[in-house]
Subunit: 331 residues, 2 copies
């Protein structure tokens, strides 16, 4: 695979986050569950935006945050995602390119506005996400160039995008191209609702061996396995996928491969500010380790380091020098 000039190519939602401080009373009044992600339409987006406090706008999107982390770690990354031809689209494009990520999916007009996620951060640093997908959900197969997929060591797919039809077709096309070109496929389940709505699809993808690396948090992996406990879920899913990475927030993470198993505790932090992006940056660290040929435990450690950085400030992309934080692991 000496022809792989890219470490990771990711396909995901191209989203600008609008981050506001909030409190439990506001979440209750809006009827949203703390810590959850829900999809909202334009009308609800405008209603909620009108009611919430002042925002900080920061580029986001789950897989986009992951490639931002990969670039910050010094890896070569590319991103595919759909923007509208508007100011938020310009902001997203600027931010991701300025990190050195290759991004050239053309913005389209006539498909609504660029996606935004209204992120309500409570004093306990939990984030509650209200996502208006807009343009992001019409990413189609035409945006996927099999030649570009072939350039990447790893194709990383955002589970959120399995929900709408066009992006699902785009990701199927990308998975086929990956299989044809010896590119490993990584998939993040993204959210319990993805597991619930697409359980059969996900089982089929696993059964057909289409996923090489599966990322899941505790809620997602137990939902996928249909078990009561995290450990039982990991035991049930691990045999079905080459590499399983299961994260548990402050309780660390485990990875399973070929009957082997590694685990790491969460990295110590000084101040928990905003958990947005924790899973995305964990994936960045782990994928960086995989692309550089580290062992399971080292890759998990790198994931934990990146996640710890991003939860200590607002926003879902790294602010500190991740290469420095990674130290010997990536030197």
């Amino acid at each position: 695979m000496n022809d792989k000039t890219l470490d990771v190519l990711a396909i995901g939602n191209a989203i600008v986050d609008v981050i506001a401080d909030s409190d439990d009373a506001f979440l209750d009044a809006c009827g949203v569950a703390k810590g959850s992600m829900r999809l909202i339409d334009l009308e609800e987006a405008e209603r909620l935006y009108g009611a919430m406090g002042p925002g900080r706008e920061l580029s986001g999107g789950s897989a986009a945050n992951t490639v931002a982390g990969l670039a910050a770690l010094g890896l070569k990354a590319a991103f595919i995602g759909q923007l509208a031809d508007d100011q938020l689209g310009q902001i997203f494009t600027h931010d991701i390119r300025s990190l050195g990520v290759r991004f050239d999916t053309p913005a389209r007009s006539g498909i609504g506005a660029t996606a935004r996620c209204l992120v309500l951060v409570t004093p306990d640093a939990q984030r509650t996400m209200n996502t208006f997908l807009g343009a992001a959900q019409v990413l189609g197969p035409e945006a996927v160039d099999p030649g570009r997929i072939a350039e990447a060591k790893i194709l990383y797919l955002e589970g959120y995008l399995w929900d709408p039809g066009e992006p699902r077709a785009a990701m199927m096309k990308a998975m086929n191209a990956a299989r044809d070109s010896g590119t490993r496929v990584a998939f993040t389940l993204s959210d319990s609702f993805v597991v619930d709505r697409h359980h059969a699809d996900l089982q089929r993808l696993l059964d057909e061996g289409r996923i090489d690396i599966l990322f899941a948090n505790e809620a997602e992996v137990t939902r996928l396995a249909g078990t009561a406990t995290f450990d039982a879920a990991v035991d049930a899913i691990a045999p079905k996928v080459s590499t399983l990475v299961a994260t548990r927030s402050e309780h660390g993470a485990v990875a399973c491969r070929d009957g082997g198993r590694a685990s790491v505790p969460a990295e110590p932090i000084e101040t928990l500010v905003d958990t947005t992006g924790a899973g995305d940056l964990f994936a960045a660290g782990f994928l960086a380790g995989e692309a550089r040929g580290l062992n399971l435990e080292q890759s998990l450690k790198l994931g934990a380091i990146c996640a710890a950085e991003v939860i200590q400030h607002y926003g879902a992309r790294p602010e500190k020098d991740l290469k420095l934080l990674a130290g010997d692991l990536l030197s």
Copy 2:
């Protein structure tokens, strides 16, 4: 003046800040002086934006930051400023209204984009501002309702807006309305370039007694007075205006009124992050004190408290509870 239902009405640039980490080498390469503010055209804005790192978008604008601070202190504030009919304009409108500030200047189309300020923050927490004024500079007299001016105890004018012609006419109209209705006029010099370009105008405004409260930092007051030292400048300007407030960053601030003089040191801080908005929030604290009838020293102290809060995080608007920080001063 029992009919004054507003504490402060401000007229200023309606701007969204785009804040990015930077370093001295980048500033040198761009040929911009650290700590300065310069006006740039659309072409330069696009060139600089393309070269700089990822941004955080936060509503800004000097006088708008001041009214945001006033609202956070619990005062009744209103704002007049010109936006374009675009997404950045929607962001500015949302943010200022969500703070409880009255803002109803209609956005206009066909006047270019909403203003933005590309703020480069160096590791020493200095901010270097590159402002594309766009729609903000076509604020015209029609946006000023004399009835609204009459409702305010204090009219606060942003010196930056003295530069373009239409807003200058709008501010003259507002000053006339203020004089007719017993509303005090506060004016901030904003930047040395304003003093240099409009020295004669400013002298005339002072000579005619049109300014009741003048805000200036060290560079501005010495430029206005044409003296070598801060103290000499304060001595020269103080007799020309009812109230002079002169700020000196980490060296505190002084205020002069009726031959009397008060001063405060800067408030202690933990970590200096981004000095953007320091002057704006100092003005907010001082004006809050004036509107509530505090003495000079108390108003200065409140200014110093608000400035200290805003320089300890990114962005030019308060994040912590200013009322709590103000403590007994505003109770």
